[in-house]
Symmetry: C2
Subunit: 609 residues, 2 copies
Amino acid sequence: MFRTHTCGELRLSDVNKTTTLAGWVQTVRKFGSITFVDLRDRYGITQLLFSESLNEKLEANPLGREYVLQVTGKVNERSNKNTNIPTGEIEILVSDFSILNKSITPPFTIQDDTDGGDDLRMKYRFLDLRRNAVKRNLELRYAVGRSTRNYLHENNFMDIETPFLIKSTPEGARDFVVPSRMNPGQFYALPQSPQTFKQLLMVSGYDRYYQIVKCFRDEDLRADRQPEFTQIDCEMSFVEQEDILNMFESLIKRIFKDVKNIDYTENVERMTWEDAMWQYGNDKPDIRFDMKLCNLKFPGHTFPSKPVISALIDGADFKVFDEAETVIAIAASGCSEYTRKQIDELTEWVKRPQIGMKGLAYIKYNNDGTLKSSIDKFYPEEKLKAIAEAVNAKPGDLIFILAGAEERTRKATSELRLHLGQFLGLRKADEFKLLWVLDFPLFEYAEDDNRWVARHHPFTSPKPSDIEIMINNNPVIDNPAEYLKHPYANIKANAYDMVLNGNEIGGGSIRIFQKELQQKMFAALGMDEAEQQHKFGFLLGAFEYGAPPHGGLAFGFDRLCAILGGSESIRDFIAFPKNNSGRDVMIDAPSTIDDKQFDELQIKLDLKQ
Amino acid sequence: MFRTHTCGELRLSDVNKTTTLAGWVQTVRKFGSITFVDLRDRYGITQLLFSESLNEKLEANPLGREYVLQVTGKVNERSNKNTNIPTGEIEILVSDFSILNKSITPPFTIQDDTDGGDDLRMKYRFLDLRRNAVKRNLELRYAVGRSTRNYLHENNFMDIETPFLIKSTPEGARDFVVPSRMNPGQFYALPQSPQTFKQLLMVSGYDRYYQIVKCFRDEDLRADRQPEFTQIDCEMSFVEQEDILNMFESLIKRIFKDVKNIDYTENVERMTWEDAMWQYGNDKPDIRFDMKLCNLKFPGHTFPSKPVISALIDGADFKVFDEAETVIAIAASGCSEYTRKQIDELTEWVKRPQIGMKGLAYIKYNNDGTLKSSIDKFYPEEKLKAIAEAVNAKPGDLIFILAGAEERTRKATSELRLHLGQFLGLRKADEFKLLWVLDFPLFEYAEDDNRWVARHHPFTSPKPSDIEIMINNNPVIDNPAEYLKHPYANIKANAYDMVLNGNEIGGGSIRIFQKELQQKMFAALGMDEAEQQHKFGFLLGAFEYGAPPHGGLAFGFDRLCAILGGSESIRDFIAFPKNNSGRDVMIDAPSTIDDKQFDELQIKLDLKQ
């Protein structure tokens, strides 16, 4: 060992002990003939005191930032204590030292507030990882993993590894493929998830499976997506949806306790997908604050169970509302005194191309109970008041109204809600609100191919009450214009998403476990029997040998860690992330390969000009 | 939940409880009007009793092997107890049941002694995994992983994930590569190990890292190799070899305790590579038994510190020995009364092509102290006695002597030793003997290229005392015939292998952490500066910024589990293994991919005729 203690270990109670430390030089400060060095390692920082007697050696062996240093000395009580760090009451009176390795000047400072830009820090990731801020993230990630494993172990789950070199069955996302040298002309695929393997394990009787496992998707990378990412992947047999929700909300509560020391004792809220879309405008609502959407006019096609309340705005001859497919209001609490300028800024905000609205109407519900609006030319005060009541506004609130095409308007209002929530300080970083979103539609309509696609994936079971509808109807859509009237449009899935502070952190479903229903599902997605056999013959085969009822879910491990760490960026919680072009700029990958490799793999490039 | 208890849970103390179980039908037995069913799940088997009142329902819903069944009933004390299983004192008086899923007849029996052959069980792996024998293996694997994680956690190691999509730097083994769609013409490689990344983590200050991680090598698969395999991968900073040996022999001892309940209290033996090769003929000796090799004649070139004792056999005018490069003897304890037939069989055994020797001489050291030999025409009794003494034989032993080319003869004698050890019952399945093999040569000579290759890998440090030799000498070999006289031939590595019962279960080294020495190493392996920069520029760069002294090792997780489970085959300890052609015959992978995939990846096939 190059050390007897770490740089985070020594305390007042260790005074007079002889110690050897090893670490990195954080700072060197000279005071007259005395030199102070802050020595850093993974565990902390310890102050070193080099007295005059070492000056000759120090001159022959000058110290620099990030030098690797080994020192021996005695633990001494500091006269000038630093109460900000655990070792701040002591220092080491160095008797001897040795430079284990030198460092050239780092391209950025190794500090919480570094002067390094993103690109530089990615290129020198090995230096960025030295920064406390990044180290804390990786420590949190390790703690989340550890807590997860402990909880699942205590609940009889088994970690079982599934293969990485599997079969390409592109459904939705693109596979990364791997040419097989031993089977020329054939390719493996890297798993997008261990989905079919964990289902096979259920067929095999391993009734509680988990894995913290890398998955791969070759997708164009939007901000905060990675081509390789990590899932907490779980599956259980002999369970219904309720069992899964209980098991895994308890997992997240356990992680809150272990990692953040938060007692999340309240029940986890539950909401149907329809309610989420209706009340919050998206399927992963941030319920740390209320400010629900109010549909003032809606043809009711996507959400058949929701009321149409267009009478509130009808008959006023206001073309913008009359001609809009959807008109949605929200009330910003306590904002009735917003200035013209503030409202103009918000109007510009919703008109940005990312939001894409044409304008923003408002109603000020003044503290004295009067109402003032940008649309009072069309709506008398009593109408405005009815709208205010519909959107649950109180005196002192400011009501915003957006109008336009259904999907865009809903999305825009949802964005505006989050924007206002952020601005009004309602999205508190230290508040955590879990939510289950339930009863998703099983299918989505793919206009290009005039067919159904699986909203979740092809293994998700319909709600038990909808199985008959699925079995007894032909999935073919005869009239594309009226696809919403097809019986499949209303089939609900036995699927669930877990949402934390407006982020989807996990999702899953009860699976199909009957061969016939699985075949019906594949057929509904446009797969003929030959394709079903080629891609999923092994699964259909397995279902013939006594498949148990089962279901599961997967958490996005990177994102869960990021949110627990109070960050929006998963990249900060991955030791060696890739950039938006899927490149690792530190090791410079991907890169060219040798002719010999092409030759052995029996492939060649076919580059487009 | 489909159940209130598992099939392994109920005991006498549960009698009269109402219970619901779910599982698979193992057997159905009818006795008159009563039907007994053994219901199986992951946790065990419970006997069900269907009384006459259920016969009508049973006739309408007949049960078959591997049907998935849910039953409700009362726990009853059995009159006919089965003491072989934990639930053997009770049975369930079934009041109602429901068939959750049916099964067609499995292609083999789901029993410890199945009637299924290897190929069939691989194709229906999901059924093979139901067998107790396979389930026990996966449970052991999980327990080994769990024990490993607990131990490393307690010792401040952090599990940090390293990337799977990295850069191809073929050194030794072939990489699997992954075409990058977003970077046309470029490829990722799958890691052969996280070696360089864990070293970067040391540079980053994460002084105790581990991962249980998949690695990939595209090699022709000998029996018991897999293209994807799992390592327990570890690295530490500020350590010397001694620290690593202590840390990781304690890990293995902990696994013995946690998984096998074995108290491995004795010290782990250590042996130099030279001694292992000299005394056992290979670098992973099985030291559960003695039977050391005795070199009767040796030119002394590969093992410079070993004595040449050819005087024992010189001057007898026995051409076979005189002309052989090497003559090696071993003594089989208590075998002096072997018959002519037994010795002939062993002679045939060493003449098999896999062993490749021309013959087998023997000396019987009779219980009365006389000696009888197949070569007594050439050697008088006193000479034979001298040989017997040299090989540590006692009266009652049988000495075998092999002669031929050095490497082949050494290997053959080592194989003969293991063969005899097996035959004589000296390799006990329930005895575990750990061994560290130390002081490997740093380089091996590559005849084809007349250059050095790294015996371990290019990141392994020479012994501190040999660093000067490496720095101060030119690696170029001027005279290929005399490569053994090159100073590099005798450089020892700071490397270590852990051997368990004759199997290498892990290995590692103290790493090079100085840029100049790393460059010298790359140059010694024939890499010019451009190639060094292209392949490992990131590592050389990182070494400029204060790399600490560090070292580590990796255990072969699959093999470790196999040996602990008493098996020679790692395949039995992998949930979904591949066959010797790298195929997963269950899912039928690898397979062809779509034209669209080729098009997007901008590659095409280039198949040889």
